[in-house]
């Protein structure tokens, strides 16, 4: 019955149905398995993750991989400052991050070869080098499939939206995009989740009871029919989600105490990090937060100093400290990356100079979960133009990231034509991360 086997023996229908929800896109196949859901490997510590994407490609030399003693044409005007971890120094414009360097690990000398934004992002935000014949899913889609959240919560939320989609896993693993960033001191509503159209809870309940009494047409064949029985269950679950205090409260950052909110900045990125913290606390598995504007071909230093770094500093430091304060850092992996680094050589396109795309050398951060903070893994050469010794591949970081969540990156999925595709194609777990 349409159960035709594909390239590797799994039917496409099955392949489509295997697994679970993206966002609130809980599918029937997934729904039936909900009872088994949420199983996490014993040796893993993290049960959720926050992915901070920095599209545009942040300059590694001006953030977490400074070369204070490097040649003047690459060094730039920023100074390095000490952090709370002896021997680890970062940019002077990241003072708050310097104060919590024990909570994260810096990868330096990460290297690849894709210097265009879309390709670089595809690579770094999915952990797989782009390949025209496979559309790889982003991290959040994989995690929401492997570790689905409870039924009344979305598994994967993107604030405000994500650069990458669910790829071959299909729309059901796409994030629930908030489409807006929360603003400090203002109520925040999310489409579909908050009661819309001025309808009150009481009205919803009355309508729901009318619906239940009217929705009887298929009772006779419903139990035997996947479509109908699934719709029936979803009807109840949707009602639960819409009326769920837990869901609504998860998005309501106004419920945090003033003291807690003050850990974060007031700008939209910081508030997004605050929302990410709340969502994870409520049981959402994966949250993507995005801060763009890193494509600093011109006026690199002014842009970083006056705008990007202060925002990044406040938001990320708030995130690490907020998670720690709520006791969530141990169970939440935080992964921060752009798509590439920037040229060590400062260009002369503007008076002040800028830096161009540079995939050969970049840096990333990871913290929380089982990650041993306060480390630097990998090293770039004297002018930050490439890895000093062995390069760290983005795939290795991807494999390690999944490892923090107990997800085996070798695990294979079937694409729509039944082609088996492993979660991360090439890559091995960097054990130093956990020592």
């Amino acid at each position: 019955m349409g159960k035709h086997q594909q390239c590797d023996g799994v039917s496409r229908r099955d392949a489509i149905k295997i697994g679970m929800l993206g966002s609130a896109g809980l599918t029937m196949g997934g729904f039936m398995r909900l009872s088994d859901a949420g199983e996490i490997r014993q040796d893993a510590k993290a049960t959720s993750a926050i992915f901070v994407e920095l599209p545009g490609g942040p300059s590694h030399l001006d953030t977490f991989d400074l070369k204070p003693n490097g040649p003047t044409e690459i060094r730039g005007s920023f100074k390095a400052i000490k952090t709370n971890v002896p021997g680890v120094e970062i940019s002077e414009h990241l003072p708050k991050m310097a104060g919590c360097a024990d909570k994260y690990t810096i990868f330096r000398g990460v290297s690849h070869s894709l210097g265009a934004h879309p390709l670089g992002q595809k690579f770094l935000f999915t952990g797989n080098r782009p390949n025209p014949s496979v559309d790889y899913p982003c991290y959040g889609s994989v995690v929401s499939r492997e570790l689905p959240a409870a039924a009344d919560l979305p598994s994967f939320v993107a604030i405000p939206k994500s650069n990458q989609g669910p790829g071959h896993l299909g729309v059901k693993y796409a994030p629930l995009a908030t489409n807006a960033q929360p603003q400090a001191g203002r109520p925040f509503n999310v489409r579909g989740v908050s009661l819309a159209g001025g309808v009150t809870l009481h009205e919803v309940e009355k309508r729901q009871s009318l619906l239940r009494s009217l929705d009887q047409k298929f009772t006779a064949i419903q139990r035997e029919d996947d479509l109908l029985s699934g719709l029936d269950r979803f009807s109840q679950k949707a009602f639960d989600m819409i009326t769920s205090q837990r869901t609504r409260q998860a998005f309501d950052i106004g419920r945090e105490s003033k003291a807690f909110r003050s850990l974060y900045g007031e700008d939209a990125f910081s508030q997004s990090c605050l929302l990410a913290t709340r969502l994870v606390e409520s049981g959402v598995r994966f949250v993507t937060v995005s801060l763009g504007g890193w494509d600093t071909h011109q006026d690199n230093f002014t842009k970083l100093k006056t705008n990007l770094l202060p925002k990044l500093d406040a938001g990320l430091a708030g995130l690490f400290q907020g998670l720690a304060e709520k006791g969530l850092l141990e169970t939440t992996t935080v992964f921060v990356t752009g798509e590439f680094g920037r040229t060590p050589k400062i260009n002369s396109r503007s008076a002040e100079g800028g830096r161009d795309h540079y995939p050969r050398c970049m840096c990333m951060l990871m913290g929380g979960g089982p990650v041993q903070g306060g480390q630097v893994i990998g090293e770039s050469d004297a002018s930050a133009a490439g890895p000093k010794n062995d390069a760290i591949n983005p795939e290795d970081v991807a494999a390690s990231f999944y490892h923090t969540l107990g997800i085996d990156h070798h695990k294979e999925y079937q694409t729509s034509i039944g082609r088996p595709i492993s979660i991360v194609r090439d890559g091995s777990v960097l054990n130093d991360l956990f020592s």
């Binding site: 489509i16 896109g25 025209p132 159209g197 001025g198 309508r207 619906l211 064949i221 949707a238």
Partner: protein, 912 residues
């Protein structure tokens, strides 16, 4: 069937007697097995002098043993330093791998030390464990091959046919189902025949009905239903049906009376159902039929008035007439244009940087197809307009082309390319430029097959080898997308000149900036140098390292092979896509018509005759072969007339049956014995919700009001054409999974359900906005129920008098200003008269004023049901709704609640 089995038994006994070597065996004079070479299992059971053949014996044996599987040596990295081609059939590379220096797989000097002998016996530790024992027939076979010099296969011998016996298994008729042994016979091109059962691989598509052992013993379950068992050997894939009848009614009385079948479609469906003892459900009632057929053909709900009329219509042919009427509607052409835009991949994001905006290109694509659908142009003609499309019209110069396109991209209202002979954008999509992607996409769209598996290895479910794929993909090397025609000097100059005239220096202005400059130039009324689709000889793709080598440049393919066909001389064609189109149009083409009729069938039934509908391959046979053949042949005979196909399907009883199951067909999903509820497609869900909530007149006009409908979004820019702030279908399209038109897979469109879809219908602002629309039905009813109104005629009269008054006022003022006291007084008198008249009219109006016809709660509920579920409510449903409405504090909230509940029933969101 029983007789066959006895023959096999006898045959096996004979084989035992003649166990050594190849003896022609005759069971009796008429035996079909005369001249049949016994199996290798027999021939190599004992040491023998025979040397096996690499293609016929060694490679299939490695396949049967699992050596070339993905987890083993078929892995692209190989395994243990030894790599075989995945799923075999790359004889040269497999042979080379075995004899490679230092691999030790084959040791010609010390044959018995060959790793292909000692590894699989696990004598030398084998990660894959023991595959056979020393001295077994498998061992002997491989050993004899090595000893015989490990000879390779030259040109592969063609396997003409792979015969599987028995040719059909009806489990319910077999006395001892545990004894069903399969026999597989290879018929080679050279006339020889061999029993290849032990060298074949087997699979059952639905193992809940039966399974099969690696040796070819069928193991039935007690589950009834039907499926196929598939045997694989060499490049052949041979399916046989396996079924167990559902009811014992078979034989007692005919389950479905074939002579009573209203149409040929029904007769063919009945024949299959009778084999299974399944009785088809009853014909469904008029309202269910009307809703189903309206949604399927036109993507639009019937209006309440239409439903009432249809019920009242006593004409016995009213269903046929309704189908004809629907096929003439605008919504039909819009909805089926969307179908063909899905099929051909009208993806806006793929149409960037063509010189024309991507949305416009998508719209032109859509309009071009819509024009064909509206005029019911034959399908083959429409496909030819795409498959051998060119940018330029016949006789058109490049400059004329640029002028025409520049003109087009300024004129949003024009029909675009609709009347053009061909639609080239199919070939101009960004990610469809290399020959392999094109071959994959073309085969998927117009042949309904997935040859991408053969891009890297032998197709596991079809006969295609990598070589077949490469040969086929050569047909797609004859067109490319450029502005400079691949660099002819004259053209380069011409383009340069146009750029000069525009004042654009292409050395300085590049990439995104160039696009911007061109967009601006076009908008300013200038002609820009357009990119076009160039047709040229089939260029050989050079390896990156050869691209600078002038001696290697400019080479062309001289021949290519259509799938499953003979080599073609490409030098005879000025456009090498032409022979592909010619081949598709041949009446005996195995794919072209079948792929389309199967997809259209799947559209109407939620499941294809071949399912998945875009996966026509040998291992995935149709659930009803004669039915598929009938439709495909009829389609070709009727000149690829799409409306013929729609009528042939929808006028059948099989299409018009009920979803309610009887005692025989509850478990059947693949034989069209009952109607399967299907979730409405994304576009239709949104449009249906919108229609349900729209005013009376808008609801009635819906089927012929295409603008703003989700079924008429041209490309994949979901916001295209939306007014800012107006409720848009964009979000719903994502939630319900409109086709992404990207991946050469019909699954780009989702028919799944998800929690977020239900959340959308229950609580999204779109739905609340539709229900609360001031121009919508709830507002309309609320107004008419509450207000009493002055008659329009009286209103008009009053308006006239008021106008007079205003005029008089102005005149009085003017006269007073001029000091014309006398005239002013006259006018004042006139004014008093008019004022008195107005007051009188108002008084009369008040007296005449009658309440508008008020709808009773019962009538309102009827309306709500007809708008949403396209039927009248039952008494119980009516009572529930009236009770709910009476508890609400206003008519509007009562109606909104009822409409909301109805839109959220399963009955609304499924087509049933």
């Amino acid at each position: 069937m029983k007789i066959n089995r006895i023959v096999y038994l006898l045959f096996s006994i004979c084989l035992l007697v003649a166990s050594h070597g190849w003896l022609p065996v005759a069971v009796d004079g008429e035996s079909p097995h005369e001249g049949l070479q016994p199996s290798v299992e027999k021939r190599f059971a004992q040491p023998t002098d025979e040397v096996p053949d690499f293609q016929r014996h060694v490679t299939p044996l490695l396949g049967r043993l699992g050596c070339n599987g993905r987890a083993c040596h078929g892995s692209f990295q190989g395994q243990g330093g030894f790599q075989l081609s995945l799923f075999g059939y790359d004889f040269a590379s497999d042979h080379a791998a075995m004899l490679a220096d230092g691999s030790g797989r084959v040791d010609l000097e010390e044959p018995l030390e060959s790793l292909i002998l000692v590894k699989p016996t696990d004598e030398d530790l084998h990660e894959g464990g023991q595959r056979y024992e020393t001295g077994s027939w498998q061992y002997n076979l491989l050993q004899r091959w090595v000893a015989g010099g490990a000879v390779a296969t030259g040109k592969p011998v063609r396997l003409e046919k792979l015969e599987v016996l028995p040719a059909e298994i009806i489990l319910s008729e077999v006395n001892d189902p545990s004894q069903i042994e399969l026999k597989v016979i290879a018929h080679w091109e050279d006339g020889s025949r061999e029993d290849v059962t032990p060298l074949s691989r087997f699979q059952v598509n639905n193992t809940s009905i039966a399974d099969v052992t690696p040796e070819g013993i069928v193991q039935p379950t007690q589950v009834s239903g039907d499926t196929h068992l598939v045997a694989f050997y060499d490049n052949a894939v041979a399916p046989i049906p396996v079924m167990r009848a559902v009811s014992t009614a078979r034989g007692v009385e005919p389950v479905n009376a074939i002579e009573m079948a209203p149409t040929e479609v029904d007769s063919l469906v009945f024949q299959k159902l009778n084999k299974l003892g399944i009785r088809q459900s009853e014909v469904t009632n008029d309202v269910t039929f009307l809703r189903r057929v309206s949604l399927d053909i036109s993507g639009t709900l019937p209006s309440p008035d239409e439903i009432r009329r249809f019920i009242a219509n006593q004409n016995v042919d009213k269903r046929r007439h309704k189908i004809d009427q629907l096929l003439e509607s605008k919504a039909y052409s819009a909805w089926w244009t969307t179908f063909f835009c899905d099929l051909t991949g009208n993806n806006s994001q793929q149409l960037r940087n063509l010189g024309i905006s991507q949305d416009m290109a998508s719209q032109q694509w859509y309009q071009w197809i819509r024009d064909k659908i509206e005029r019911n142009i034959p399908y083959d003609e429409m496909v030819a307009g795409i498959a051998v499309a060119t940018s330029r019209q016949p006789q058109e110069t490049y400059l004329d082309y640029c002028n025409r396109m520049s003109e087009l991209s300024r004129d949003r209202q024009s029909g675009g390319l609709a009347s053009a002979q061909s639609m080239p954008y199919y070939w101009m999509r960004r990610e469809f430029q290399d020959q392999e992607t094109r071959a994959i996409s073309f085969a998927h769209a117009f042949m309904g097959i997935r040859i991408q598996c053969a891009q890297c290895h032998k197709h596991p479910f079809d006969q295609w080898s990598q070589d077949d794929f490469q040969q086929f993909s050569k047909f797609f090397t004859g067109v490319s997308v450029s502005r400079t025609q691949g660099g002819s000097k004259a053209r380069k100059e011409q383009v340069k000149q146009i750029f000069n005239d525009l004042g654009i220096d292409t050395k300085k202005v590049k990439g995104g900036q160039l696009q911007k400059a061109l967009t601006k130039a076009v908008r300013d009324g200038q002609t820009i140098p357009f990119i076009e689709l160039n047709v040229h000889p089939p260029r050989m793709d050079l390896k990156p390292e050869d691209r600078r080598d002038k001696t290697k440049r400019g080479k062309v393919h001289e021949s290519a092979v259509l799938l499953g066909s003979q080599p073609l001389d490409l030098t005879e064609y000025s456009d090498v896509r032409q022979p592909v189109m010619n081949w598709l149009r041949q009446a005996d083409n195995p794919y072209f018509a079948k792929a389309l009729v199967n997809r259209v069938w799947a559209h109407y039934f939620g499941i294809g005759i071949v399912e998945p509908a875009d996966d026509l391959n040998r291992a995935n046979p149709p659930s009803n072969g004669p039915l598929l053949d009938h439709l495909a042949e009829g389609f070709v005979e009727n000149g690829y007339d799409l409306k013929w196909l729609h009528r042939e399907i929808t006028n059948s009883r099989t299409y018009q049956i009920d979803w309610a199951a009887n005692e025989t067909n509850a478990d059947d999903r693949r034989n069209f014995s009952r109607s399967l509820p299907r979730r409405l497609p994304a576009e239709v869900v949104f449009d249906a919700a919108k229609q349900a909530a729209s005013s009376h007149s808008a609801n009635q006009a819906f089927r012929n009001q295409i603008a703003g409908r989700a079924i008429s979004i041209p490309g994949t820019n979901l916001n295209y054409g939306n007014r800012k702030g107006a409720p848009s279908s964009a979000f719903a399209m994502q939630v319900f999974g409109r086709s992404e038109r990207l991946n050469s897979c019909d699954c780009d469109r989702s028919d799944e359900t998800s929690l977020i879809q239900t959340v959308y219908l229950q609580n999204d602002r779109d739905i609340h906005a539709l229900l609360g629309d001031r121009a919508g039905w709830v507002a309309e009813i609320t107004k008419s129920q509450q207000q009493q109104a002055v008659s329009p005629a009286d209103k008009n009269r009053m308006r006239e008098v008021q106008k007079q008054l205003d005029r008089l006022n102005r005149m009085v003022k003017a006269k007073e200003e001029r000091g014309d006291v006398k005239r002013a007084e006259q006018l004042r008198q006139q004014r008093r008269k008019q004022l008195a008249k107005l007051q009188e009219l108002k008084k009369q109006g008040e007296q005449k004023k009658e309440p508008r016809v008020q709808l009773s709660p019962e009538q309102l509920v009827n309306q709500a049901y007809l708008r949403t579920l396209s039927r009248f409510p039952t008494d119980a449903e009516k009572a529930e709704c009236i009770k709910y409405m009476s508890e609400q504090n206003s008519i509007s909230s009562g109606l909104r609640g009822v409409l909301w509940a109805l839109i959220n029933t399963k009955e609304f969101v499924v087509n049933h």
